[in-house]
């Protein structure tokens, strides 16, 4: 297990999520795929946070101040915010899907074409 391997996993999951988000007709599946992409990004961020030396520490490795330690956790902080946004996104996304379903009796993205020219 090393950084490259974790990033490889993250990239593959992201690519799968992207492929699914672009190709599935069911809006709920699309949302699930987007969640997959979020998760892939989270994995990447946490992995980078764990393995890569932050600039604040790398700049002067001989005498690292204690305050520089917090930059080791930047990726994790990012992840927390991404999770927050993902939660908000899924709530709204599902609400929209339900609203469309109520109106059109369909959850297919391809059927919601009111905004075309």
């Amino acid at each position: 297990m090393n950084l490259e391997n974790v990033l490889l996993v993250g990239a593959i999951v992201f690519a799968i999520g992207l492929y699914g988000a672009l190709t599935k007709r069911n809006a709920i599946t699309v949302l699930m795929c987007i969640e997959l992409m979020f998760t892939a990004v989270n994995i990447t961020a946490v992995a980078l946070s764990r393995y890569v030396i932050p600039a604040a520490i790398a700049v002067n490795p001989g005498a690292v101040p204690e305050t520089a330690m917090q930059s080791l956790l930047t990726g994790q902080i990012f992840t927390i915010f991404i999770i927050t946004i993902a939660a908000a996104e899924i709530a709204l996304g599902l609400a929209i899907v339900m609203a469309i379903f109520r109106n059109k009796e369909s959850v297919f993205v391809t059927d919601a074409t009111e905004m075309k020219r």
Binding site: L18, A21, L22, T23, V30, V109, T110, A112, T113, E114, M115, K116, R117
Partner: protein
């Protein structure tokens, strides 16, 4: 020596009068509009007093008085100043403007009585006097231009004073537009000075100060070629304002305004502003032979040409209008042949006797119920003796009969032109001489038609008159407020010529005082009084008077009937009567054909098909592109997502490639 602040008062007193009338009396106390008249008269009187003091001060100093210019605007390296020039020319113009203005204001209290626009009239008159004083006092080119346009504006306002009359409104517009054509030339001249100030700045001169421009021209800093173009530009402005050929058509129409306005603005002062302008830039004109020749020839031709039209007019004010054009031509002619002093002298005398004649015509029209058509006058001599006598003096002065003022000034111009001896001067001398004959004829034709014979009904008979009285018109002498100024002006017209510019020393007044005084700084020789020239012109003038008497003076059976004359010289008669078809030429050919059909329609076409076409092409391209591209907007969310992703991958790829 007069302090500068006092000189500014001459300018600010009429301005204050204007502001009080326009800002207080007219909007709030229009019931007491008569106060406006008295206020204006008081203002003019005080301005006249100060002007006389200023003139006396110049006489005492024997030279112009220099005042430091005030900085007004600094734009980069250029600075525009305002200030006062007080020299002989300014002093005389100040006195002329304020004196004639005062007479006209007094006259107007009676003439304009009962008019609904009484306060407005006096507001405009004050504004005009203020502008005219500002113009003659100006020391910088910018100042000159500002007041030049202001007097043009006042002229417009006063010609169109009775704006409810369509002909007056049209005449006002015509005056404004035609003079504007000349003003464009003046503006070009000023712009040239404006953009080429480095040339003068190198010698420590400011190109926007008149005196500096003249110094530069005299010293050769402005080369002759440049001086020609500058002078031509300035002269174009003068041609417009002084109604010289070919921009003269507005002045006869300007007679639509009230008669005192014609007397003050369109005879005595504003139209003389063109002459004043050329005189102001005289050293600049002198630097260019071509410019001088142009001034002389335009002036000479105008003098004759306007006189010929004046021969056949039936409207007394139009006769006087063409006479004014002709006399202004005389002044231009004089300037063109270098007779600077004589030109200003003629301007000076002309202001008084032409103002007098216009006021006289107003008095006559007042008596005969509002018409200006001489065919419906006649026999007024016994009814209005004061008007008759003063009008006679004015006519004699204008005709140049010894010893009235016109004789001296006109003669000096002719003597000067003859004395020069070159081709241009000789040519304009003959033009001027013929014009002198015609002047005498048309003036006395007007005099006889108006005052001799039987009364022919006045306005009641005139089908074109504005105000039809009930029943017959009963002619009567005008009130004292009108006669008084006539008498004062008649005295001036009669005596002033000899008194200020005598041919022999008169004790306190030295010989040729006026000419020497005015042109002293230019170091010109004043030619001796030329007896043969004076004799010839006097004989011609007398001949004109006699011919007029023969045709119009004798009761009923004229020795030579005007109708016969009309038949004998039919083509000429038609030519004069139709004013050389100038109006038709401008109106029908220039405006309608060249400008409207040629230029305007061409531009219209290009606007419709080139400009609009271009716009339409752009419109179609945008619309077409939009129509094609809009097919991509198919409502398929994932299609959009794919597009976004492709974009991201492209940016990613480009970044990797150029990294």
């Amino acid at each position: 020596m007069i302090p500068e602040i006092v000189l500014w008062l001459i300018f600010f007193i009429p301005l204050g009068s204007f502001l009080i009338i326009a800002g207080v009396i007219r909007p709030f106390f229009n019931r007491y509009a008569f106060a406006a008249g008295y206020l204006t008269i008081a203002a003019m009187a005080s301005a006249l007093v100060i002007s006389i003091i200023a003139l006396a001060s110049v006489i005492n100093e024997h030279a112009g008085i220099e005042y430091a210019a005030h900085r007004w605007l600094d734009i980069g390296p250029m600075n525009i100043t305002i200030g006062i020039t007080l020299d002989a020319l300014t002093g005389i113009m100040l006195v002329v403007v304020t004196a004639v203005s005062l007479m006209v204001q007094i006259y107007s209290t009676a003439y304009m009585k009962g008019d609904k626009g009484y306060a407005r009239y006096y507001a405009y008159m004050s504004l005009f006097t203020m502008s005219m004083i500002g113009l003659v006092l100006a020391s910088s080119v910018i100042q000159i231009f500002v007041f030049w346009e202001l007097v043009g504006l006042c002229s417009y306002l006063l010609i169109g004073f009775w704006y409810h009359k369509p002909s007056a409104a049209a005449a006002a517009k015509k005056a404004f537009i035609v003079t504007r054509i000349g003003d464009f030339g003046l503006l070009l001249g000023i712009l040239y000075l404006f953009f080429n100030q480095d040339t003068l700045a190198a010698s420590g001169l400011n190109s926007l100060i008149v005196a500096d421009v003249n110094t530069a021209a005299a010293a050769g800093i402005i080369t002759s070629g440049v001086a020609t173009w500058l002078a031509v530009g300035i002269f174009a402005g003068a041609v417009g304002k002084s109604a010289q050929i070919p921009l003269h058509t507005w002045l006869p129409d300007a007679m639509e305004g009230p008669t005192p306005v014609s007397a003050l603005i369109h005879a005595a002062t504003m139209v003389a502003a063109g002459v004043f302008l050329v005189a102001r830039f005289f050293p600049l004109f002198e630097a260019s032979k071509e410019a001088m020749a142009a001034v002389a020839i335009i002036g000479g031709v105008t003098a004759l040409f306007a006189a010929t039209i004046g021969l056949v007019q039936n409207d007394i004010k139009r006769v006087l209008a063409y006479s004014t054009i002709s006399q202004l031509g005389y002044m231009m002619l004089a300037l063109g042949v270098g007779a600077y002093g004589a030109a200003i002298f003629h301007l000076f005398t002309h202001a008084f006797f032409k103002g007098l004649l216009f006021l006289g015509s107003g008095s006559v029209s007042h008596a005969s119920g509002g018409t200006f058509d001489m065919r419906y006058m006649g026999g007024l001599r016994k009814i209005m003796p004061w008007t008759y006598v003063t009008f006679l003096i004015g006519s004699l002065a204008l005709a140049g009969i010894f010893p009235l003022s016109g004789f001296w000034s006109k003669d000096e111009i002719l003597a000067h032109a003859w004395g020069n001896g070159d081709t241009v001067s000789r040519t304009v001398f003959w033009l001027g001489l013929i014009a002198a004959f015609m002047t005498a004829f048309y003036m006395f034709r007007a005099l006889f038609m108006t005052f001799e014979g039987e009364f022919r009904g006045g306005a009641a008979k005139d089908p074109n008159a504005e105000a039809h009285d009930e029943g017959e018109t009963h002619p009567h002498e005008s009130p004292w407020a009108m006669v008084g100024p006539l008498v004062v002006l008649a005295l001036a017209a009669g005596a002033i010529g000899f008194i200020v510019n005598p041919t022999t020393s008169l004790g306190i007044v030295p010989i040729h005082w006026f000419t020497e005084f005015v042109s002293g700084h230019l170091h010109h020789e004043t030619p001796e009084f030329n007896i043969p020239v004076a004799l010839i012109s006097s004989v011609l003038a007398l001949a004109g008077i006699v011919l007029a008497y023969g045709m119009y003076g004798v009761k009923r059976s004229a020795i030579v009937s005007p109708a016969d004359m009309g038949r004998w010289f039919r083509p000429l008669y038609q030519l004069f009567l139709n004013k050389y078809w100038f109006d038709e030429f401008y109106e029908k050919l220039l405006v309608k054909r060249v400008f409207y059909r040629g230029l305007a329609q061409g531009l219209d076409w290009s606007d419709k098909y080139l400009v609009d076409g271009l716009v339409r092409v752009i419109d179609r391209v945008g619309k077409g592109t939009g129509r094609v591209v809009s097919h991509l907007q198919n409502g398929q969310l994932q299609g959009y997502g794919l597009g976004i992703s492709v974009g991201i991958v492209l940016i990613f790829g480009i970044y990797l490639a150029i990294r």
